[in-house]
């Protein structure tokens, strides 16, 4: 039986690690949906934009260099870039600023609109961000290296003969830190409580004495941070390029499974999807022609929802009239 198969455990582990990567992306969705009921289509592009910005600062690219070249300025880089840590801080700053702009320009005028409208607005946002990101930093692939360990971890390799990429281990650690700190934040700070309040009821939040705008600003900034982390983790694997924005698709089945409003849901959902699709692809895939991961993730989530429409951590829905 495949439990004796040495690969079973390896695929299990790499499934879990992949799941963490998915969860990282899903987290951004959850934060925003929880606080403002918005299904943020732009989350993937946000990650791309964040990663592009980071690389831009790191390598000292000149923003809009390509655009400027229309006016005869052919330089593409400043003399030097910033050290990684500074670049990270700057990128975070950019994300916070971006969050503020989004709230002011897009969300404020759309307060109290139906979900589908806000969803559509974030699609417009995605378009804008994608275009601006490419105009600012160019559409070619960029290496992203912030000095995280890479390559197979020798220790594990020698001990168990399993290839586990250090990068993914560090991604897992980062994700865990992120989730823990988010949970603490929302549990033990006034702001965090306000966030949870706004999730339940906008009026309640106002009574806590924090304006809705501020709360949204913070939420979008935080999910901007999450996007940055996700962007870095995925970008380090594959280089930073347009495709990075497509990782959002990997997060959707996770959201179905974990529920749009539950942070632990996002994590557990991510792990289930990661392991599930890997096992299926590895054992069943070859029999039916492979490349099953994309749809299997959704089928898994779908089957699950058929039995638990409220998702993993949602409470049972009692319909009343």
């Amino acid at each position: 039986m495949f439990f004796l198969d040495p690969f079973f455990y390896e695929i299990l582990i790499s499934g879990l690690l992949a799941g963490v990567m998915y969860a990282l992306v899903a987290l951004g969705f959850v934060l925003i949906f929880k606080a403002s009921g918005i299904f943020n289509f732009a989350q993937g592009v946000l990650a791309l934009f964040a990663a592009l910005t980071l690389v831009g600062f790191q390598t000292g690219q000149i923003p809009f260099a390509h655009l400027l070249s229309l006016f005869g300025l052919h330089a593409t880089h400043w003399g030097a870039g910033f050290p990684t840590i500074v670049a990270l801080l700057f990128s975070l700053g950019v994300m916070v600023l971006l969050a503020w702009l989004i709230v002011q320009i897009v969300l404020k005028p759309l307060v109290n609109q139906e979900g589908i409208i806000l969803f559509m607005a974030t699609i417009g946002l995605a378009y804008v961000l994608e275009g601006v990101g490419d105009l600012m930093w160019g559409a070619n692939v960029k290496e992203l290296n912030i000095g995280l360990p890479e390559g197979p971890s020798e220790i594990i390799l020698d001990a168990t003969d399993m290839f586990i990429d250090k990068l993914e281990i560090s991604a897992a650690i980062v994700a865990i830190v992120l989730v823990v700190s988010l949970t603490l934040f929302s549990q033990y700070t006034k702001m965090g409580r306000a966030l949870r309040a706004v999730a339940d009821d906008h009026q309640a939040a106002l009574s806590v004495g924090i304006s809705l705008e501020t709360i949204w600003w913070i939420v979008w900034s935080v999910s901007g941070l999450v996007a940055l982390v996700a962007g870095v983790m995925w970008g380090a694997k594959s280089g930073v390029q347009f495709s990075l924005s497509l990782i959002a698709l990997k997060a959707l089945p996770v959201l179905m499974l974990g529920g749009f409003t539950s942070i632990p849901g996002a994590i557990v959902g991510g792990l289930i999807i990661g392991v599930g699709e890997k096992l299926f692809e590895f054992y069943i895939g070859p029999l039916i022609g492979g490349a099953t991961e994309n749809w299997f993730a959704y089928m898994l989530a779908l089957l699950f929802l058929l039995f638990r429409p409220q998702g993993l951590f949602g409470e049972k829905i009692i319909e009343r009239v």
Binding site: S14, G138, A139, K237, S238, F242, S243, N294
Partner: protein, 428 residues
């Protein structure tokens, strides 16, 4: 809104109604945006710079300047159609669609419009059968040539035989990626290796299970028909499971610097099949430097000069220029029509001497297109990546494919197409 639509349509119309100029009009259906932009940009830059160089240096071909019409497809078929229709009206001589999807879409259309297509090492492989595909050219080589040449290289590494060996194909799960399967299957029958198929879905950022599959099956070789981000991820995954990189051989679309650089030092030794010699030490490059870049007219951001795909773009443009010249010779006309261009392509002959004159000394294989064979010689060489110096270098000469296997396949597919669309060969 209705008014607005009309405005849009009106503008669209004007956009398409620019009168055909006296120049040689060549549309460039490039993709500088979208998921595959990293591959599209250098290619488009290469084409553009070379054409600009020809115009600047020789004032065009036979005194007639070339007018390059760039049109953004984003590697998307619908946009490709729009580009085709909008440039067709302007006297386009030839199309190189730069996308398998768009090529398939254009083959019947362009043939009906009597405009030749040159799909250089992509598109429909069986179009090498010129007798059936009168207007489609895919020299210098097809995917099936590439597959066979790669297998040849593996055999050389194994001392002549792949008997009992295992070869894995990691491919982009699309029409493009599926191209080599038939050939590899045929060859496996002939050479007795076991073929392992590992599809990867677009975009391909997640390939864990694919490479675990590789570890489980322990193939002796892996070859890859990858595209876009899939290449980078595959190469770094292969490296991180410590697959011997010199036994990992990609097709020419998995052969650019973009693909290996993100994997860093781990990618050292990765191989791929090449259409031309890497590097910039050629007359043509010097001319481009002199007439285009130094003049400040570099295409795009000007940061792609010398990359593999840039050189391939140059090569593509060089073919076009030479084809125009040939057409002019045949028809004795300076100003040529798409029909004449087709003849030019069909009679294109470039030997090394001619290449050297053109400033491509010892750069690529000789070209010999005939009415029956639009696939040219079908030669390719193997290039290898040196991560320390971040350079590619050829490690073999340009060798030919296993013709009797490949030609049989081409014959089969082409005749099927001919039957479907009742085409009787146009060659006597």
């Amino acid at each position: 809104m209705k008014k607005f639509t009309l405005a849009a349509v009106a503008a669209a119309l004007v956009g398409s109604m620019v009168p055909a100029s006296a120049d040689h009009t060549i549309p460039l259906l490039s993709y500088r945006t979208g998921p595959y932009a990293p591959n599209g940009i250098p290619y488009a830059d290469g084409v553009t710079d070379y054409i600009n160089m020809i115009n600047a240096r020789d004032g065009g071909v036979g005194g007639v300047p070339i007018n390059l019409l760039e049109c953004e497809t984003g590697y998307n078929t619908e946009r490709g159609v729009e580009c085709y229709e909008s440039t067709k009206g302007q006297g386009a001589l030839v199309y190189f669609p730069l996308s398998t999807g768009i090529t398939y879409q254009l083959i019947p259309k362009a043939t009906a419009d009597d405009i030749p297509i040159h799909s250089m090492g992509y598109g429909r492989t069986s179009a090498a059968d010129g007798n059936t595909f009168s207007h489609v050219f895919n020299f210098p080589g097809t995917y099936w040539d590439a597959a066979s040449i790669i297998i040849k290289h593996m055999m050389d590494m194994e001392g002549g035989s792949l008997e009992g060996k295992k070869v894995a194909l990691v491919y982009h799960n699309s029409a493009y990626g599926k191209e080599p399967i038939r050939t590899l299957e045929e060859l496996s029958k002939k050479h007795g290796y076991e073929l392992l198929l590992l599809p990867v879905d677009h975009p391909g950022q997640e390939q864990k299970s694919t490479w675990l599959q590789v570890r489980k099956e322990k193939p002796d070789f892996v070859t890859m028909w990858g595209w876009g981000v899939m290449n980078q991820v595959a190469i770094s995954e292969a490296a991180s499971i410590r697959f011997p990189m010199d036994r990992f051989i990609g097709v020419w679309w998995s052969a650019s610097e973009n693909d290996v650089l993100p994997a860093g030092a781990k990618s050292d030794g990765y191989k791929a099949i090449a259409m031309n010699r890497p590097g910039t030490d050629f007359g043509a490059y010097r001319d481009i430097q002199k007439h285009v870049i130094d003049a400040g007219n570099a295409a795009g951001a000007g940061d792609q000069v010398g990359t593999i795909l840039y050189s391939r773009g140059m090569l593509n443009a060089a073919y076009m220029v030479e084809a125009i010249r040939t057409a002019q010779k045949i028809h004795g006309a300076g100003d040529i029509t798409p029909g004449m261009m087709r003849d030019g392509l069909e009679n294109l002959k470039i030997d090394q001497a001619r290449w050297t004159e053109m400033g491509f000394d010892n750069f690529t294989s000789t070209i010999d297109v005939t009415c029956e064979n639009h696939g040219g010689p079908g030669l390719g060489a193997i290039q290898q990546w040196d991560a320390s110096s971040k350079t590619w270098s050829l490690i073999t000469d340009f060798v030919g494919a296993d013709r009797d296997v490949v030609d049989a396949l081409i014959e089969a597919d082409a005749s099927a197409y001919a039957a479907e669309n009742n085409i009787s060969g146009h060659c006597k």
